[in-house]
Each structure stands twice: as structure tokens, then as C-alpha cells.
Symmetry: C2
Amino acid sequence: MLKTMPDPSRLQPSAETPPDDATAVNALRSGVMRLSRRLKHQRVDESLSPTEMSVLGTLAQCGSATPGELARKEHVQPPSMTRIVALLEAKGLVRLEPHPEDRRQKVVSQTERAEAMLEESRRKRNAWLAELVGQLSDEEWDALRAAAPVLEKLAHL
Amino acid sequence: MLKTMPDPSRLQPSAETPPDDATAVNALRSGVMRLSRRLKHQRVDESLSPTEMSVLGTLAQCGSATPGELARKEHVQPPSMTRIVALLEAKGLVRLEPHPEDRRQKVVSQTERAEAMLEESRRKRNAWLAELVGQLSDEEWDALRAAAPVLEKLAHL
DNA sequence: TATTGTTATACTCTATAACTATA
DNA sequence: TATAGTTATAGAGTATAACAATA
């Protein structure tokens, strides 16, 4: 179960690649895509897209960020982030202020309303996920919980 | 690390819910959404969308299926699957045949060309993922590999 | 001249509603 | 009357290209 050799070439597409890795890659891609499709529909606030939610989550961690930083973190192009930030501002969930040092940039930060909304939606999400996860074994949920931060790290690399 | 109590209420949104679960849920959602966005761009065959790839993967497992079955498995509405199947057929990757018992239905199966393409893309995907996963520790990759089948199961529930 | 952000535009994917054919 | 699949249409989300303002 546990690896002993930190071999960086373990995933090289060589002939020796064990089928386990290829299978895991397939399952990972397919599972992520299908789950993302379901998550899109399970949005807590009907008026908030998954990326908008993700931006709010990022702001909750970072405190504040420029549109460019947000675009890079969410793996979205700058014009898309412009639109997302504008929508969030229209909903009163983020605040835009001028950058103190660079007048080209702006600083985006979350409002109190966003904070309250995140708290609210955390409860709802748990309820929804509990329905699904309730059908998993404890081992399966453990595997998922262990992998969650790795998924995030992977998305950032 | 290991659980001993198979308590089905462990994820209920009660006051006693440990913060670990909520954090894991957040990380899971955010990670899945961001990774899915990157996967969309890392498509091996530039002309194949993630869902088209997923359908081919499903057909490789099942052998064949009706459009309705595929729509349910991919969590997509029937009209969307109609379009996807039509695109795959135009690319010579699936074959459509009349259902032997019900003249309303059709039977979709993959062609040899699809099989070869899946083999090809498995190599390319591994190469891409190797770049990312190479930056993970062995423990992190183990966590991911263990979670991959669970993600798939979750998407099916 | 390079960089940050925006505007204008188009594309991809998916959904809903209405329709056809078969059970 | 119910079900499988299709057609027509609309909407959401994102991308690229061209532009403005600032560094």
C-alpha cells in the first residue's frame, strides 16, 4: 500500500508503466468531469455559478486579490474574471477598490454579506453531500477526504 | 486515521459536525471544479470534448449502450447525448445500430478507431499528468489514486 | 515597450420545450 | 398513454482579439 521508492519516473508513459496508474488516471479524469457536472447543478445559491463560488472561497482564504491574481488562481482568462467580478459586485458579494501602488490594478475583497452566504452554503452543501457520502463506506470517505487537498493542490500546479 | 464507528450521521449539518468534514467538502468541490476546467483544456484529441471522451470510456467498459443509458450514466440530458453521439459518429468513433427488440431505441458501440485512439490518448494523458503528479509526494499520489474510484462512484450515485 | 484590465464578439456545451415514432 | 430519441431554440460560461490606461 505504501510506497518506499520516491521514483519521479513512475508515471512516465514507458512500456513498464503499471496499469494501475493508467487506470487511476482514467478514473480520476472521468470522475472529476462527471462530478463537476453534478456540482454545477447542486449550486446552493441558484444565482451563483461554481466559479463565482470558487472565487468567494479564494477570497475568504486570501483576504483580497487583484482580478489578475484571481484569474490565474481559478485558471480562467482575464476577460472571464472581469465578468465574474462584475457579477459578484452587482450581487453585493465583493468590493472593488483602487490598488494603492499601481493605478492599473484593482483590489477585490469579499463583503460581510459574502461571508454570511458562505457560512450558509457550507451547511447546505454538507447536507447534499451527506446524502451521497452516506452511501459510501467509511474507508471510501476517508480516501476522499485525504484526496481533497491534493486535488486542490493539483489544480493549482 | 481509521474510523471505527460507521456512524451514518457523521456528515449531518448539525452543530457537532467536526470542521474537518466541512473543510474536506469545500476542498473537494473547489478542487474538482478547478481541475475539471484544466482538464477541458488538456484534451488529448483537440476535437474531442471531455464528455465525448467520457462516453468513449464508458463504451469501452460496457461494450455498447443505448443513447438513453449513456445520458443517464454521464448525467447529461437526452438531447445533449443525441448531439454527442452524432459528433462521435461523424468522427468515425462510434457506430449506431438499430435495437434488436425495440425499434424506438438504438445501440451505440465504439469502433476500432476509437479503441486505438483511447490507447493513444492514455499515453498522452499519462505524460501530462506525470508533469503535475511529479510535483506531488508519493503519499499525495497514493491518496489521489485511492480516491479516484470513489470519485467515480460518487458521480454515479 | 510591457502589463493590467476591459470591451466586443464568437464559440462550445448543455438545457428546456415541442415533436415523431414506437411500445 | 408512456417511452426513446430528435429537432429547434435559448442560455450560461468561457475564450480570443482588439483596445485603453498605466508602468
